[in-house]
């Protein structure tokens, strides 16, 4: 079974990112394919490598990066939503004339077409949000 997952909220404030992560881990453990995870709305805030949560708490961003590395997961940050909220890779930094970038390893920035294409190519869309 092929899944595409949409994540609509950033880390820590809502359980969204936690639920999505647990769902995806379970799907992968069962041998299903997760074609793409698409981060939209405040969900783009999952993609900043500048977070530093307390030691006794889970690290939501690191966990995404590790999952992507282990399973070759495609973590896509919506470019329009990311621009509004300040999530940039080096290319976006240069294009927008900013002086820093903050995208975490394993994520990439792309357009909404990646969501639609993913939905077309997948068997199931599962949305997590607030």
């Amino acid at each position: 079974m092929k899944f595409i997952i949409q994540v609509n909220k950033g880390p820590y404030q809502h359980q969204t990112a936690d639920s999505a992560y647990q769902f995806i881990s379970a799907a992968l453990a069962k041998g299903h394919e997760v074609l793409r995870v698409f981060f939209y709305h405040d969900g783009v805030n999952n993609g900043t490598r500048l977070t530093a949560p307390p030691q006794d708490d889970r690290n939501v961003v690191h966990r995404w990066s590790a999952l992507a590395a282990e399973h070759d997961l495609d973590l896509v940050i919506c470019v329009a939503a990311a621009q509004r909220r300040g999530i940039l890779d080096e290319r976006e930094m240069n294009r927008l004339d900013k002086d820093a970038h903050n995208l975490a390893p394993g994520f990439r920035i792309s357009g909404l077409g990646q969501l639609i294409e993913g939905v077309v190519l997948s068997d199931r869309l599962v949305v997590f949000g607030d």
């Binding site: 939209y40 939503a81 077409g113 969501l115 639609i116 294409e117 939905v119 077309v120 949000g129």
Partner: protein
């Protein structure tokens, strides 16, 4: 491959950006030649209210987008009759022509689509 996509809009405009960012998805979706329907239930019906004027809150007024959908071949807009009634809205209060459905008919609408987007 063409999928029947239903975009379910349940939130009021401006209080959150879901309505605004849903429009972007619909427009991109139309470029992919998918079979698109938009459904407005619960507070989503408020998105279509005419005469929105955001000058006083200095936010972007995006309500004209709904009338522009037709140019993108997004022509199937449905609203819940019961949601309108509970909110004191009539069809003439809306900024665009829509098909008003009963909640029972909306159950069938959800049923016959392949994918449901939630905003």
């Amino acid at each position: 491959m063409i999928k029947k996509c239903l975009y379910v809009n349940r939130r009021a405009p401006y209080g959150t950006s879901y309505a605004l960012e849903a429009i972007d998805v619909v427009l991109i979706g139309s470029a992919f030649d998918q079979d698109i329907s938009l459904l407005f239930i619960d507070d989503g019906v408020f998105q279509l209210k005419s005469d929105q004027d955001t000058t006083g809150i200095e936010m972007k007024n995006f309500s004209s987008a709904y009338s522009a959908f037709e140019m993108y071949d997004v022509e199937k807009l449905y609203v819940s009759k019961e949601a309108m009634t509970a909110r004191g809205l009539k069809k003439r209060d809306l900024v665009v022509d829509v098909e008003v459905l009963s909640d029972n008919a909306i159950k069938d609408l959800m049923d016959e689509h392949d994918v449901i987007f939630s905003f």
